[in-house]
Symmetry: C2
Subunit: 101 residues, 2 copies
Amino acid sequence: MMAWMNSESFAETVRTGKAVYWSRSRGKLWRKGEESGHAQAVRAIYVDCDADTILLKVEQVGAACHEGYRTCFFREVRPEGLKVVAQRLVDPSQIYGKSSH
Amino acid sequence: MMAWMNSESFAETVRTGKAVYWSRSRGKLWRKGEESGHAQAVRAIYVDCDADTILLKVEQVGAACHEGYRTCFFREVRPEGLKVVAQRLVDPSQIYGKSSH
């Protein structure tokens, strides 16, 4: 998955060992799994050469993706179009209540 | 590595099977490896759930990173600070001439 961080979410991620992002649409910290239960235990954190991209190595509980897949990258670009190449683990309607991501 | 694409670079990537990005700083297509020789043969292309992030699975020639590492994510965030956790493959000064990325 790809998500955004700000300095506050980064600091909390480092401090707690659980992935915390910044939800731009909701304008608040997004503690991954706080609603869905699909948390990410952080195993390693890397920064890139110009220090504006962070790579988290995580242990994923359940589905990272709000569509119910383990990864958000569940579709492959093929000559014939997009092809779903992963198994859906959970029904998206079962992940959240009224809120959405 | 993380880089940007526009529709033109995406189309060329799909068509040629070689990674092509959009250089925002130079305002032009960035055919990865055109100067450095460090090209990326694309093995698979994935798009994420909301179709605004692309994940390329590539076969990397040499160093993806302009710092001479195979990956741009060559530093790990540790309690004591950033630690280089990869081997430098090439001297950055040998990769490019006067141009920089």
